[in-house]
Symmetry: C3
Subunit: 303 residues, 3 copies
Amino acid sequence: MEKPDRGLHHLLGIDSLTDRDIESLIERTLELSNGAPASSASVTTANLFFEPSTRTRVSFELAALRLGMRVINIELEKSSATKGESLEDTVATLAAMGVGCLVIRHPQTGRLQQLAENLHAPIRLLNAGDGQGEHPSQALLDAATLAADGLDWSQATIAIVGDIRHSRVAGSNLKLFDRLGAGRLRIAGPEEMLPDPPGIERVEVCHSIEAAVRDADVIMMLRVQRERMDRAGWPDPDQYHRRWGLNPAHLELARPGCRVMHPGPINRGMEIDGAVADSDQSLILDQVRMSVFARMAIFEWLH
Amino acid sequence: MEKPDRGLHHLLGIDSLTDRDIESLIERTLELSNGAPASSASVTTANLFFEPSTRTRVSFELAALRLGMRVINIELEKSSATKGESLEDTVATLAAMGVGCLVIRHPQTGRLQQLAENLHAPIRLLNAGDGQGEHPSQALLDAATLAADGLDWSQATIAIVGDIRHSRVAGSNLKLFDRLGAGRLRIAGPEEMLPDPPGIERVEVCHSIEAAVRDADVIMMLRVQRERMDRAGWPDPDQYHRRWGLNPAHLELARPGCRVMHPGPINRGMEIDGAVADSDQSLILDQVRMSVFARMAIFEWLH
Amino acid sequence: MEKPDRGLHHLLGIDSLTDRDIESLIERTLELSNGAPASSASVTTANLFFEPSTRTRVSFELAALRLGMRVINIELEKSSATKGESLEDTVATLAAMGVGCLVIRHPQTGRLQQLAENLHAPIRLLNAGDGQGEHPSQALLDAATLAADGLDWSQATIAIVGDIRHSRVAGSNLKLFDRLGAGRLRIAGPEEMLPDPPGIERVEVCHSIEAAVRDADVIMMLRVQRERMDRAGWPDPDQYHRRWGLNPAHLELARPGCRVMHPGPINRGMEIDGAVADSDQSLILDQVRMSVFARMAIFEWLH
């Protein structure tokens, strides 16, 4: 992959990617998924997760191992974080030890951006999710999954359904689908889960799942964060499933062959029926499969 | 190792192994322990332990690393399991990410069997202990240890002493020793720790440790689960040690050169005297040493 | 590196090192930091930390990985330690599994020494900190950092400031700096944090930070253990910072170009001002960088 000299050293979000970056990353992901040889770097990457996520951590770890990278997992309850060291000092320390890349998940929106701005060390930051901000590797793997499936972006109607307001997956995907020239972008969810205003101007806000999925080519369901369910004013699980859960009848409203996506892990019977998740129209396991290749492409691109 | 095409893709228990499988696995274990070159696969294995076990997890990890496999450890308190994802979905996800083999320990008897029956993904399951069911890799390494020690199976009297009823180690070992044609099989333990009926018909049930070890060639002591000790009707530790703990006097009752085994970790002064565990007749560290080679042989056989 | 036949098989503390050992280890650390090829052993090392320390554990892990060693991390809350197995049995088990080297941190002073005395297995022990005893790899990396910086040992005045009494870093460094022929060695700290008597006879005890740093070539600040701060009679953080924290004015009292060190993680605004930690005179990140090379040299020397 050709890599022009660029000021960018991190993957923090979608906005900082050039069109060429996006194109290269998706193209390289598809190449890797088709068995193209991967560069085998001796770079060390460290996973630094301030929120638990086996799925994402393992996906990054497998991607790094397949590239021949060394991987360090840092368990946070045991780390210097509990000794009062700042994240900035932790990053400087790992950089001094020769760690070349840090995959960070952090509960605070914008924390990665802030970290990158004050960074003096030659270490790459890879945003694996910051609060309600971005999760760019998820968006890139989702786009690669749709590209592998032959989606015609300019003709596609893509609906994202669920807690849009608090979802970094929705945040990054809407930006990326917009950049890729998706024909129509829709979001839908309970009133208190809708962003105000939506980050992308041309996004259509739908007030029922039926309106969102009608004639859609892609339906992306978001995971319900069960812990939010207890809050006042929020729907209970049964009510949520009845009003916002994706069931087979909804697929009848969509375009024939409409694809169903979900970043996982799925709550069967909550935001999605098990039968839909397991159907031929589901790309959920394709997303998982592509996740490793997309993250390999990202590691290659960072270095 | 020659590997005929077989329907079997997992190691769930002893029953599903053919005689040829058992023979090959033990033979290959001994070869590896004598320094035969190991195949170096690029398969990724993941350790998924729903019950803690450093000893077993590390043994599997070392076996995989020596074969050149990639190893992922999944920490369960941080995993999707806590996010409500089913084990079936976790396994499908790991398979989609390219994990080729899953080493699973689960507290529920039969959970691995159930998982295998519903499995659609090309991933191998390796039972590292399911509830009170099986622990087949332990049985295979124990048999290999005895084979390396030159045991004549048909002439051998083997006694297993302790909480037979709740022990998956006893469960798998009795099946395997039976299949290997052990001369006499005995079990012994407190009344409430005896299976009713014993799984293997020809097993002799003894009601004292003295009866069990008399003229024995092999005595296998089981670990006392201290947490069970608090239950009503169960013996207290001192009482247990006096009645069921293996001490040097017992070895006088056994055949000369009788071997002492224990799956570990041992409770010194509870089910076994330290002096016996450390004696020349103890194979306990031989079992540990063989554990890595047996698990290498199992990984090779699975793929 | 030439390695004469020696009775020593472990790195437990500074006293058991010969002058030639010390010289070789520092020399080899500097070679490695300058890019000399590292030997690539197939030895397996295991990290066994009974006290949490991401920094030290990661540094050892990176050193081992760069040497091509296999690394196992043993999480203690899940380990056999919680099943009542003795540390001696855990070590014998890991040795039987083929682990060649154990990096151990233990809260009990002298526990590693005790372990080594009763050890029968061919496994190397590497003391990564035992209670208030020693932390020899830290002292070796500190000495290598100063050597790389061109320190003239015989002319150097080195001051260590903080909780000397409870610090294994101070303990090992004082011994090593003494062996390396440092010109003057000073310690300073609150009365209740001073050793009585000091382990090294020629150490000068100072009763203010100003006295300690005057004309110093090297100032090593120790981390304040916040948990100790709550004890009766101990200074509160503000008071500690005012009386014992290193600030820019102190550097005016020292020799021009005086070097500032700290084993990390640092408490900014407690034992050291952020401005001092980040200044040109700070070797703190150099220590971190050198830590990986020093531990590579130690692994090579152990095997």
